[in-house]
Symmetry: C2
Subunit: 194 residues, 2 copies
């Protein structure tokens, strides 16, 4: 008989992603995840054999999701300017949903000593060349293209990682902070693409 697909496996993974990437509870246990998913903890072992395998799978899928987003933008048949615009849009939408995803990837990346695959490096290199070309056309400020990329991702990701601090610091509630983050899409574009 084939698998029955009760959706439990996916539910566990989605719940783990929510806890790690959205809520930022990086120290969550399998019990925490099972409770949040409303299932017996044993099912984590039934579907994933071990805690480590679940966590690694979650990290792998996170990397894949992030790559897919960047991929879709980098390889799009668009002018550079539109690529940047779209990148900001799709990346920030995801970052608003999963603010801690990159943080999780970074810590897992360090822990497991993984490497970025060569194909991804190549895609980035291609985009760096596009950035350089745009600079030479005088459309964006001249600098090391790597700095351009680092700036862009920093401006998009960091304020979402530090949401809890900023909300407390600036005394704003959730909806006000969401509004600020939405404003950032345009603001970031204006900053890097003056």
């Amino acid at each position: 008989m084939a698998q029955r697909d009760t959706g439990t496996e996916q539910l566990i993974k989605d719940t783990a992603k929510r806890i790690f990437f959205s809520e930022g509870r990086l120290h969550a246990t399998t019990q925490d995840i099972a409770d949040a998913a409303g299932v017996n903890r044993t099912l984590v072992n039934y579907y994933f054999r071990s805690r480590d395998i679940l966590f690694e799978q979650v990290a792998d899928e996170a990397r894949a999701e992030m790559s897919a987003v960047l991929e879709s933008v980098f390889s799009a048949k668009l002018e550079f300017k539109e690529k940047v615009q779209r990148l900001i849009n799709v990346f920030m939408d995801q970052a608003m949903k999963f603010p801690y995803r990159e943080m999780y990837v970074v810590t897992e990346f360090k822990r497991t000593e993984k490497n970025v695959p060569d194909e991804k490096k190549h895609r980035i290199k291609q985009f760096l060349i596009e950035i350089k070309a745009e600079m030479e056309l005088g459309r964006i400020k001249k600098m090391d293209p790597r700095h351009f990329l680092m700036n862009l991702f920093a401006l998009m990701a960091y304020p979402l990682i530090t949401t809890c601090l900023n909300k407390s610091l600036y005394s704003v509630n959730d909806s006000e902070y969401l509004k600020l983050m939405k404003e950032r899409k345009q603001l970031i574009f204006d900053m890097v693409y003056q």
Copy 2:
């Protein structure tokens, strides 16, 4: 008899800070810390009573250190422009030493549901006013001053948090990456203070 101050208490704290803030091993155990410090794990309990107390103390001191840095800049008798320059200098020097410190503070901040004390909020408010004044003088680009601050901290902190990813992605070694980060001081100033 008074305390003998063998330096062990400080050694444990410093080692914990190195592991958390410099190495980014957010899941380190007391055993990991004791081993790295070259002391018996029991001493963690002797000096701090419990793991949680040590971790909280480390987080509290991290907050205090960060506040002290910002404080020294905010309250300095300097032109706004020089304040920004100095902020970038001191913050990035610290961030290069402890790239994951803010990350630790954020996760502990969430876990313990702390609040930013009113005095700090007030200092930030004062600085926001200074930012606004500078904008009205036309010296920096007009925007919500909170965005100005978020941009500044994002540009400074994020590339250091993602060091391991960027090094792999751009195929650079430690010294080259350090060079890139040093370059950023001027670059960030130029970005926010055009």
